[in-house]
Symmetry: C2
Subunit: 704 residues, 2 copies
């Protein structure tokens, strides 16, 4: 079966928190600024042989009723019936690349490109390089090969916005032709005799025309291009965003790009002027992904996930300094730390300064020190940890507070002190060792040591009673609450932080990384203490293996017998830093047990959904998350390839078909879905799937 082409994709510049979203058949989309999901514009793209009145359009519009001319004339039926039909799925192809999305229907082509690359540090990068990296625009084009055609052909790109009419860009910028929604987004190309601007109640039949042929009250605006018989033509279209003025509250910021571009027109001109070189950038990205040894489904998943990741990125400026945010998809929480730790691998490859800056903001503004409660009613001072996020909906929460965490809960919305402590350590050391930025590591060493102390404290404040496992809950949870992990909506197998297998293996990675970091800084005593902690934790972990389960239980209390994939998640940091052999050498028994665990997990009915074949992150929940599956797949394929049964290998196809399918495809990349039904369970329009980038490091894939 040919994979479905009916799914929304976010076409998003880096750092603009904006997307041009299209792709789902029969659905609206278009330009969206800081939205939780697709915008609600009709998008008109297609062609018309001039000997036929009917336009063939890609199915990116909703033919439902709109309030048109009759709102003015008071007469029903004032609107001419539009002469347009939506192309059927079988009449066109779609090819989603890492930085492009191309639809073809016979001789007609429509393409979108988001040319992303290594991005310069916005605090010091040269201005022209920054303008290139952070231009808030997407490149589009329409093309028709009419060399064999008997008649001229018209092409169209346009928008129908029932909220209000757009403005002709040429009025303020005679060197452009196109339309804009106030100041905030729009599209344009260069004026030429082959292009005509249309604005009307129905773009294909403008009934009312002013002196220029437009009607500024028309909700539909379009560019119509002429392709003479016997010729092949391609027309560029720049799709741009520009939000001026204050963006966030709590901390006062603007978009970084406002320091690089004067206004929307400036962005449109830049897009047109640089399109050739920037399309080459996009082509390079596409080529790298295409040349990888991954399957078509895997490549598609990486491409789709990367597109949604960019849609959540937001590069701001505060008091003259850049401030990096990744929004949490539909929830729009700012820099959710348990996403930061997963975006880490992608960001280290392309813009490591983003990791550094985010860790800095967590340390400066979103660190806190707590007190703890442990087993048998014991109380103790705690240590440093970090908030779950920095705010929500463009609002920065006060220092030391998140938008998410509440008191007196055992499930969703409880605190994540253990999780975020481990996340800061893993992000910080992976950043420093990956980039070699030891100067930064030296400056952050006091925080890293405080993290080490805090980690020990959460094992047990009494050194004599430590066994390596995190089991003291933060008093921030309140007297009735306990800590959770990032897996907040799962059952106890992953929801509870205390004595949780996932978190313990991640803590092992943290200890390992602390050891390496302190050694690199010459603190050999500190390194030795970290090594001791890691060894102790490994001994305890090994003993938790349950040979009746042939796996580790998910939680080391309450008789839990769930089996979870994220048992191996924490190993990703060591793998990423190339410590695979050292790891096998140092902890062979644990690695062998984890291999057994994974083999057990990757059986249908355990962590493979018996009906669909989708990977399940827990044997006891049908709520499964793509980003975490992708991470587990990477660790599994890299460290435990023998665990991958054919059924497990088939997962990529299932996951891709789910994401392209009728339930998830309406929301661009979706993280949480039902493993049997493929219904979305949350985390729509979500950035975290970019963990699949890790797959490109497997086997013979070329370095991107």
């Amino acid at each position: 079966m040919t994979p479905s082409t009916s799914y929304h994709t976010q076409h998003a510049p880096l750092g603009a928190f904006a997307s041009f979203t299209i792709g789902r058949h029969g659905a609206r989309g278009g330009f969206g600024q800081s939205l939780a999901g697709p915008a609600q514009q009709n998008v008109f793209v297609g062609y018309r042989p001039t000997d036929d009145p009917t336009w063939r359009l890609l199915p990116f519009f909703d033919a439902g009723p709109q309030r048109g001319a009759e709102a003015f004339t008071g007469e029903a039926g004032s609107n001419a019936a539009p002469s347009r039909r939506a192309l059927r799925a079988e009449e066109f192809t779609r090819e989603l690349g890492w930085a492009s999305d191309v639809w073809r229907s016979g001789a007609f082509t429509f393409g979108l490109a988001t040319p992303w690359d290594r991005a310069p540090d916005p605090s010091r990068g040269p201005r022209e390089a920054q303008r290139s990296a952070f231009a808030p625009c997407v490149l589009g084009w329409v093309e028709f090969d009419n060399r064999a055609g008997p008649a001229p052909v018209e092409l169209v790109f346009g928008i129908g916005d029932s909220h209000h009419p757009w403005r002709p860009v040429a009025e303020t910028a005679p060197d452009l032709v196109g339309f804009a929604n106030t100041h905030v987004f729009g599209y344009a190309t260069r004026p030429s005799p082959d292009v005509e601007a249309r604005q009307a109640f129905a773009f294909e039949q403008p009934k009312f025309r002013d002196h220029r042929g437009l009607h500024l009250l028309g909700p539909e605006n379009a560019l119509v291009f002429q392709v003479p018989a016997g010729s092949r033509r391609r027309f560029p279209i720049i799709l741009a965003f520009y939000q001026a003025g204050p963006v966030t509250s709590g901390l006062a910021t603007r978009f970084h790009y406002t320091s690089l571009f004067r206004d929307l027109e400036d962005v449109l001109r830049h897009g047109l002027a640089t399109q050739t070189s920037r399309l080459r950038v996009a082509a390079r990205r596409d080529a790298v992904l295409a040349a990888s040894s991954l399957s078509a489904d895997q490549r598609w998943l990486i491409a789709q996930a990367t597109h949604s990741y960019f849609g959540s990125t937001e590069l701001l400026r505060r008091a003259g300094r850049p401030l990096w945010i990744v929004n949490e998809g539909e929830y729009r929480m700012l820099n959710t730390f348990d996403l930061t730790v997963d975006h880490l691998f992608f960001e280290l490859a392309w813009f490591p300064w983003a990791v550094r800056d985010t860790l800095g903001l967590f340390r400066r503004r979103y660190a806190y020190r707590d007190t703890l409660h442990g087993p048998e009613g014991r109380r103790a001072p705690g240590g440093i940890s970090f908030t779950h996020d920095m705010g929500v909906s463009n609002h920065f929460t006060p220092p030391g507070r998140s938008s998410y965490e509440c008191r007196d809960l055992h499930g969703c919305f409880s605190h994540m002190a253990m999780e975020q402590l481990v996340n800061w350590i893993c992000c910080a050391v992976t950043y420093a060792l990956h980039t070699g930025d030891l100067a930064w590591l030296r400056r952050e060493a006091p925080t890293l040591r405080a993290c080490a102390r805090s980690l020990s404290q959460r094992d047990d404040p009494d050194p004599a009673r430590r066994n390596g496992l995190l089991k003291w809950d933060s008093d921030r949870c309140g007297p009735q609450g306990s800590e959770i992990t990032t897996y907040d909506s799962l059952d106890v197998s992953l929801g509870q932080a205390r004595l949780n297998l996932y978190l313990q293996v991640k803590a092992l990675a943290a200890w390992w990384l602390i050891e390496e970091a302190l050694a690199a800084l010459g603190d050999h005593d500190g390194a030795t203490r970290a090594r001791t902690s890691a060894d102790r934790l490994v001994r305890t972990l090994e003993a938790k293996y349950d040979s009746t389960l042939t796996a580790f239980p998910a939680v080391f209390e309450g008789g839990n017998r769930s089996i979870i994939l994220p048992a191996i998640e924490g190993l990703v940091f060591l793998l990423h830093l190339g410590r695979e052999r050292a790891l096998r050498r140092r902890y062979p028994a644990l690695l062998a047990r984890l291999g057994e665990h994974l083999r057990t997990a990757l059986q249908p009915g355990v962590c493979l959904d018996p009906a669909s074949g989708a990977w399940k992150i827990s044997s006891t929940s049908t709520n499964t998350w793509f980003s975490k599956i992708a991470l587990a797949q990477h660790v599994a394929r890299s460290l435990f390839p023998e665990a991958l049964t054919p059924a497990a290998r088939n997962g990529d196809r299932v996951h891709a078909d789910f994401q392209r399918g009728p339930h998830l495809g309406a929301h661009a990349m979706v993280d949480q879905f039902h493993s049997t039904t493929s219904q979305p369970l949350g985390s729509l329009y979500y950035p975290r799937g970019v963990t699949s980038f890790l797959w490109l490091k497997e086997r013979a894939s070329p370095t991107p």
Copy 2:
């Protein structure tokens, strides 16, 4: 029958192009910035005796499904069932005043006040007076008389916004408690032990609470107030708007109030600090309307219309100078000239600088000179006229061009050169003579003289062939088009400009006003020429009376026999300037004929809808416009009271019931409706109904 209380009203500060819209039962509303209709927030206002878990709320919310906690938890049913019920219509009263709107249910009161007054010239008024006049806020309060109550009572004011969570204002302003949507709007009161902020998935049962008791991810936010048993308490709530940054394109502007207030919090504080004096202002406005001798329906229509007018007002700043806009309701065209001429009377009473500034902008940027075509294919130079509008949706069109006018049309969207020429004259002279601003008139005299020449030219370029009637169409209409009037969606009785009765009587007023203006400037020759033109027009008009119709036909060609109310509309300027006796003295025959015309018109089946009793502006159309009815009523009651049959007098009740009714009440003030069915036909959320302000000048009404 008690009038319905189920209708939306726009609670709008002067010049913010923003409304807090509520009132329709079961409908959403809330804070809207520059919208074409009501916003889509749930508004929670009501009370709960603390011995009962169920809140009684005014019916300003939609109980339909919203995506709540389950978006995070992945579990259906994560939301507790809310403990709220909507009060039924019979459980509360509503009283709409000129500057207030008050709901009462037993001991509970909710009020909103928009304290408007004479507004200082924003180009020179003292800063404090400007802060008071242009503060972008509405004053609200909740109150409960619990003096006889056995138990404490809680009151609530809150918002449910499914688009994204709001932010607690106290985080950035500890002297306030309330919530804001980013920077752009919000509400607050002063912190006290009696007030609690709530933010949750359901405000009445916060399931998740952070260290302060809030949950920042909650889509519902509220203030909950305590009223102890035995006490009566009233709590103020300020509802504020603040849009920073660029507002318009074409011309670059910001909101004027951004020069008076630093941010949203500054507006909230100002509202709280000045509420006592500003509520007195509102009470004075209410008292004036209440003390008038108008009927309850008339008073309600004036109050509702004035509220919608304010919602369309937009005071901007460009290059350090104020720039006044009235938006055209749902269409959001900027300063539509054929609305300006109708808003004139209200604006002259309260902020005459708005009229002066708008006329200036029309003269500087939106005047043009055209050529004409006349009967028998004759061509001629034309003269000055003005565009229909200055743009749409916060976009200023280029000089000399409107967003509305198109070529080659005979109906809606054609050009209005005659109409807007007459409108500039009527506005300019009425402004100058009403205010006594002869210095301004002297500066504008060249334009006024150009208008006089242009008016003559449109009668006939050959002085020998003039008869006073406007009959030469502008070449701007194109070879296939002809001019229309403001009555664009009516049939030919009012749609066609050429030889149209409505426009000829308005032209008579224009000549009269030119005569007076030139006489006041000492140009007695010019005045005499104007008088000659007026007299000639009157002679021609008198001859058009059709005694078989006992009326004037609406159009003096094509055998038209429609009868229209706007026959008398043009007299309003002379009436407004107190020229009633002079008019009767000078043109007694015409006045007598117009009285006959009106008597004929105000018969059921002519210009009274035979089924409903509503006034129809044309005998041959069921599309009728409230603003124009109100104007005609004022002229009729003032000049031709004998034409007002009991059936005609009953119109106010019909019009008020229509506006309060299920069809129109969803859209605040509606201008165009079907005279039989009361269905809306366009012009929703519309400012022009403020022509009803003229009624306060009738009979014994006190001067406002």
